[in-house]
């Protein structure tokens, strides 16, 4: 039986001594979106497993709640950690989080290379080169939600590290500077042009077999309410470019909990790609994530 896997979401608790974390406009001190809430939604919507992506700080201590959730529910979740920009020993940080835990990779928001696409490229000078190198050595997944200015740097790293599994988040969109805000439902919003630069950057990376792309984050980019039909053409294009076996569905819980709700997000692929076969829905809805991220078996 094919598992249904929500391949990107977040959980966090109120700030506490046991579970310290950073606060922000998006996740104030007393706000919590605990694992139990996600588990209820998953059960109601026949979602078997999920990827939990760290939010609320990149230092080791801020990962305490994520590590707790992964340890408490080993068959349900895999985790993605963060790396501090100023970490003195990056590889030690990565290993400390991943060793003896279900953290399988790390999320990056920048690559640390030159801003100018005409600059001579030497990837060894990228600030994140040691991360990519260590990911290659330790088989960690890299989870990319990059700034717009980094998009052109990705293929240089993919050429050098074909063995690193890479997941490009949220439809391949790389948000522009100062385009983030928080909407009335407490969700991240990203101002994005309809003819998006991603069409000529992240959407061009399908030739690299180690790249998967998320069908997620629609609420943040769409100018419409659910089911975000203004993004249907983006989904169709990604489907045609990447093919069924390189796409992964995700809800981006908890930002979608109130609007449009987990149930609606659990069937968004059939709304935006209504002509897929059952096999294709299964691939995008879980099988691709299971294989690519190596989820443990969840069914007896």
């Amino acid at each position: 039986m094919t598992p249904k896997i929500d391949s990107h979401g977040h959980v966090f608790t109120k700030v506490s001594r046991e579970f310290p974390r950073e606060v922000s406009e998006l996740i104030p001190k007393d706000h919590e979106e605990p694992i139990e809430k996600l588990l209820i939604e998953m059960e109601h919507n026949q979602v078997d497993q999920a990827v939990l992506v760290q939010t609320g700080g990149a230092d080791i201590r801020s990962h305490a709640y994520l590590l707790h959730c992964l340890k408490s529910h080993p068959k349900h979740f895999l985790g993605i950690g963060l790396i501090p920009q100023d970490a003195s020993n990056i590889t030690q940080h990565m290993d400390k989080l991943a060793n003896n835990s279900a953290i399988v990779g790390f999320r990056l928001s920048t690559l640390g290379g030159p801003r100018d696409p005409f600059a001579q490229i030497d990837i060894r000078e990228f600030k994140t080169f040691p991360i990519w190198k260590h990911a290659a050595e330790k088989d960690y997944v890299l989870w990319l939600y990059l700034r717009a200015i980094d998009a052109h740097l990705i293929p240089y790293l993919l050429e050098e590290f074909p063995q690193v599994r890479v997941v490009i988040n949220h439809l391949g969109i790389c948000p522009g500077r100062e385009k983030f805000s928080v909407d009335q439902d407490g969700r991240p919003q990203v101002e994005t042009p309809a003819y998006n630069p991603a069409f000529h950057t992240t959407h061009r990376l399908a030739r690299y077999e180690n790249v998967m792309i998320h069908l997620s984050g629609q609420y943040a980019f769409s100018k419409e309410d659910y089911p975000y039909q203004d993004l249907a053409s983006w989904h169709r294009s990604l489907y045609e470019i990447y093919g069924t076996e390189r796409l992964m569905w995700a809800t981006d819980f908890p930002w979608i909990f109130n609007n449009p709700g987990y149930e609606k997000m659990s069937r968004i692929i059939s709304e935006l790609l209504p002509d897929l076969s059952e096999y294709e829905y299964d691939q995008i809805g879980g099988e691709n994530a299971r294989k690519f991220l190596r989820f443990p078996a969840c069914h007896n």
Binding site: R115, F118, A148, G176, K179, T192, T201, A206
Partner: protein, 241 residues
């Protein structure tokens, strides 16, 4: 006006493209190169800022509003090397849709995939790609699938590398070369394996149809459009129907 020979007309009909070597040469070419390089340098920082704000792609950029920047860009639109040919193909009803004065930086992947620009239901749509500097093999040169403009052609596979397209023809060439192609046909730019940017101008034309382009679109260059032909080309006047 130089009309196409019967042989050139046949190639257009059969293959969907024509190459005009040395279409722009001598002082004209030097003037074009100087204007292109001057304005692309001036506009670069604004492009970088627009990449950063998520409004432009980092894999190519166009000099904005080129007709306002240098008259050479206007003069290219009805350049005698290919203007008569374009007029013939459109039954003397040629209009300009717009220019793209484009720089494509080196990148491991082509910035675009194989595609036609318009469906066959669209009025005849023609592009002219003019190389401003030499475009070497494997440096992002234009490529086209001969005969792919015909209704009976295809279907064409979704390939991940431009060189995997069956039957394609790539067009590395010298500065000043103009490649005229039927935009119903499948085309792309090849991967650029060099460290040299591709610099070219893409002029987009169509066979005139009613109300296709507003007279306001090119009103700002009206002072450069003294002849009736040019005024029609830039939709400042309508063609007789």
């Amino acid at each position: 006006m130089i009309r196409p020979t019967a042989e050139r007309q046949k190639q257009w009909d059969d293959e969907g493209y024509l190459v005009f070597e040395k279409a722009i040469q001598g002082d004209d070419l030097k003037r074009l190169q100087d204007a292109f390089d001057h304005w692309s340098a001036i506009c670069k920082e604004d492009w970088l800022n627009r990449i950063e704000t998520g409004e432009n792609s980092s894999t190519f950029y166009d000099i904005p509003d080129p007709f306002a920047k240098d008259e050479i860009f206007i003069d290219l639109v009805d350049h005698p090397s290919y203007y008569g040919t374009l007029m013939s193909f459109t039954n003397d009803q040629l209009i300009l849709l717009g220019p793209q004065v484009r720089t494509v930086p080196p990148w491991p992947i082509s910035y675009t995939s194989w595609h036609p620009d318009v469906p066959l239901s669209n009025p005849l749509h023609i592009k002219v790609q003019i190389y401003v500097h030499d475009v070497l093999p494997k440096s992002g040169e234009f490529a086209f699938v001969p005969a792919s403009h015909k209704p009976s052609s295809g279907p064409y596979p979704k390939v991940r590398r431009p060189s995997s397209m069956p039957g394609y023809k790539a067009f590395p060439s010298k500065a000043g070369t103009a490649i005229v192609f039927n935009s119903y046909g499948w085309h792309t730019s090849m991967d650029n394996h060099t460290n040299i940017a591709r610099k070219s101008i893409i002029l987009i034309y169509e066979k005139s149809t009613s109300e296709r382009i507003s007279p306001d679109t090119f009103a700002s260059i009206a002072q450069h459009c003294k002849t009736k032909q040019r005024r029609k080309l830039f939709s400042l006047e309508k063609y007789d129907t």
